[in-house]
Amino acid sequence: MKIKNPIKDMRTIKEILTSAEDAARRAGESQPGAEHLLLAALEHPEGSARRAFERVGADPDAFGAAVAEQHVGALRTLGIEPPPEETLAPPPEAKPSRWYRANASLQSAFKRAGELARDDGTWLKGAHVVAAVAGMEHGSAARALRAMGVDREALAAAAAAEARAAPPR
């Protein structure tokens, strides 16, 4: 199926990817992963990602903290108490690059989101990103969603419904 509005499509994609980089940097990481892609989709004014979360009764604003908490929890299983934030390095500077640098988890989620959008015959929406990330069984995003008490299958289904329901901007 053809993409209906390539200009709008490109703009949403670019904004979400840039915002994922910012989210990773704020977390002190040099490259964004699937969890940052989801955070970016939740922050995007297009709004369908947030509505997908709300459909399953999940708080979109709680996801960022849930990701950070699961890293802390994972360190504690090793008996390691993470040092205070202020003693750690400040966020890495943006590295000018001709290529978008991202973790494999982001690449895989982004590819899947694009496939879902294409299947729907629409431009890429935040809800497609939610559906793609909700489809991932392992990793930081999956663990954070579980910690929030979110059922990934229910979220994926809600996101798919939202992607089809959301009115174009």
Binding site: G28, T77, L78, G79, L88, A89, P96
Partner: protein, 68 residues
């Protein structure tokens, strides 16, 4: 006498792998802070590379962009 820290990996593979991810993330952040401090205190890239056990090119490529 120093007390050895016991690090026992969790039995559950998902927990153990998540712990590795969190450790790598922490190690990266500690490395950036430590390298920045060493350079600020006048260490050369060669000295930092030696201390980390990597090549000067590797440490420069990874960290120099945030020091210019």
């Amino acid at each position: 006498m120093p007390v050895p820290t016991e690090i026992a990996a969790p039995d559950d593979p998902a927990e153990a792998l998540a712990a590795v991810v969190a450790l790598r993330r922490l190690a990266d952040r500690l490395e950036r802070a430590a390298v920045a401090r060493a350079i600020d205190e006048g260490w050369t890239w060669q000295q930092v590379a030696e201390a980390l056990g990597v090549t000067r090119q590797a440490v420069h490529k990874k960290h120099a962009h945030s020091r210019v």
